[in-house]
Symmetry: C2
């Protein structure tokens, strides 16, 4: 295989990256809530951020710092989103970046910053600054998993992945971590995602690669249809693998790099869907033979985001009518009289109408931890996959009392 | 007041309308599941239908029959949506209209037809035809409430309203019934809505009036974000009130008629939101001072449709961050730094940032059966209101096992 998964790997697996964490006391006591990740050398950097008009202060600060396309690392806190916090929040986010840069010994604008948690509450800066100091003191190349834990909010497990591959005859590593859980919807799906690599690539090529990978992964995940104020996906590439710098999108190395990013982003996106708030199942919606990629994506996302499909999945009810209904209002182009639907490998609808099918077999498929819904539009050459989860009592419970 | 509510009024309150119902056995035994409503004389008729690409057979048949702008009545069944049923379903819908027309003694194409219930199952035509015959035998001008009951699926109460007003010095009556509950989302919000009036109006003016009223009422309701295959809103105006026929949108009578339609549609829309599947509360979102009507509507709908806002409402949690978050991804134009938010009359955010507020008072407001969320964008002259409900354990329960 071209890309080799590295067992137990994460954000600090690529050469030259280390992480430090702290119990800063922003979340309840006894839980890590601050992570600092740094590269030994300055790295090419790129980011994709929320399109929410109330983008949080850290999002705006990071986007500004990314203008140079270089960064030395990033600092993240959980427990407080620093969103809707006005000028003071903006100043807090800058201070956070500056304090982390100070620990590493670089300029403030070489550091990125991210926050996740409750909206509309100011960051407890004294705790945050102490936490940054503490995290800086325990920087280690083996603290990737702790960092993945420190950025969690209602996530039930840390999300990380790492792969090895070759570029220009050199061994290259890419690692990543993410946190998701609530407010997961295109665009974009993760509250926070971070990727590191020791590949050498220009900031311009890195940004293009990231945007492309994001569109087919995080933007194809839906948990509850809400797009957060803080969604951020950041990648750092420090070049320590020693490959010839990728500076052109028309060469094979660039394509390999994009594929690696895709593998990593899709893995994280699936973990995020599976760990949707209260979720008990992962739903994978595969739409094939759509007129265009955009149509395929619209169709797949609409099904994965439908509350009625999600509730039927929870109830293990083979209600394919809800699948075609969500397809019908997706805005995608297709001919309704040609649509086939399968649950796993069981055909339940053909040419837009229902089939007689074995309910027992359908139930068995729906009882699995991963349920694949296949929709064949028979209207063109394009395909797309989206991921979602079931809608459960626990989703309501978690979100009925998150703030209090 | 210009419009007088008629206590206990509904679809048969206007002159010349009668209804008949039957236990056809499409739903479980012992429940009405078929309703026939007819006007003594042919009526001007208009309709607004689902934009779902999988529009159900009855929707397509009714739209076709409405081309002449005249109808004698409509027949409705619950328990089976006759959607995704192919050519056979189309033929069944035509047969249903023809059978009902036969009972009344008019042409098949003067009758409209609607269905609601499970998707992808063929109509049990023998039962349906027997039911139509039965309903035709017991047509009565006092059976409006029974008709409103017969069209229910997971609704917990029948939805009807009637108002009296004056046109051209004549007393005019307008009555209506609707069923909603699941799959309630713009466009459009009700699965099925029916309006009757004894006003005299041309089909062209009636269609314009209906579209306008629909945009500010049913299209502003969200229960779960899914737009159904069967959404239909139909109005019949039989002219028996004897007013001068409204044939021009630029006169005062037309404006009065549109206002009456608005009153009726908004009442039904609010009942539908309040009776959203599993709902315990009605949410009314008032957006004011938006740059345009479209921006105001986008903003209000986005908040009313947010799963996170709906879950917070269920949990009686004054989480205004979720309100501004849903506003932020609504696509509406506004300046985030100017936004004020109130829960009822309690200000919780000002100029895009949080305020210190009395949590006890907030809780009291959130414990009411109707919760008003006011959002002032301070960015223009336009306003809009949307309605929704809370997201509850019961929503998940109802929709986890609807088909089985």
């Amino acid at each position: 295989m071209k890309f080799e998964y590295i067992t137990g790997g994460g954000i600090t697996t690529p050469s030259g990256f280390s992480a430090g964490v702290a119990e800063a006391g922003i979340k309840k006591a006894g839980r890590y809530d601050l992570a600092l990740v740094a590269s030994r050398v300055p790295a090419a950097a790129a980011g994709v951020f929320t399109t929410n008009r109330f983008s949080a202060a850290p999002v705006r600060v990071s986007a500004e710092h990314l203008k140079k396309g270089k960064a030395h690392g990033f600092v993240v806190n959980s427990g407080c989103a620093n969103a809707c916090t006005g000028e003071a929040g903006f100043s807090d986010a800058r201070t956070m970046a500056a304090a982390a840069a100070d620990v590493i010994g670089c300029q403030a604008r070489e550091f990125l910053v991210a926050s996740t948690g409750v909206i509309g509450i100011p960051l407890p800066m004294e705790k945050v600054l102490k936490g940054i100091k503490k995290a800086g003191e325990n920087l280690s190349p083996s603290a990737g998993k702790l960092a993945a834990q420190a950025i969690m909010t209602t996530d039930t497990f840390p999300k990380e992945v790492a792969v090895g591959f070759e570029l220009d005859g050199k061994k290259v590593t890419m690692g990543a971590m993410a946190k998701g859980s609530g407010m997961i919807h295109p665009n974009m799906a993760t509250l926070l995602g971070f990727i590191t690599t020791d590949a050498a690539i220009t900031p311009q090529c890195l940004q293009k690669a990231l945007t492309s990978a994001n569109d087919g992964s995080f933007n194809m995940v839906s948990v509850d249809g809400d797009t957060s104020t803080n969604d951020s996906l950041i990648v750092l590439a420090n070049g320590l693998a020693g490959n010839r710098t990728i500076d052109n999108e028309n060469n094979g190395d660039f394509r390999t790099f994009v594929q690696a990013l895709n593998v990593v982003c899709v893995e994280l996106a699936k973990m995020i869907a599976r760990d949707g708030e209260g979720a008990t199942k992962l739903m994978e919606v595969q739409v094939v033979n759509a007129p265009s990629l955009e149509d395929a994506r619209k169709a797949a996302r609409s099904i994965a985001a439908s509350n009625l499909v999600k509730a039927a999945l929870f109830g293990e009810d083979a209600n394919w009518g809800r699948i075609v209904c969500a397809l019908g209002y997706s805005g995608a182009e297709f001919d309704p009289d040609l649509v086939d639907v399968c649950l796993g490998d069981l055909a339940v609808a053909k040419n837009g109408g229902g089939l007689m099918f074995d309910e027992g077999r359908a139930l068995k498929i729906l009882q699995e931890k991963t349920v694949v819904i296949k929709v064949d539009l028979k209207s063109g050459p394009a395909a797309a996959t989206a991921w979602g989860c079931d809608l459960t009592y626990d989703y309501v419970k978690i979100n009925g009392a998150y703030r209090t």
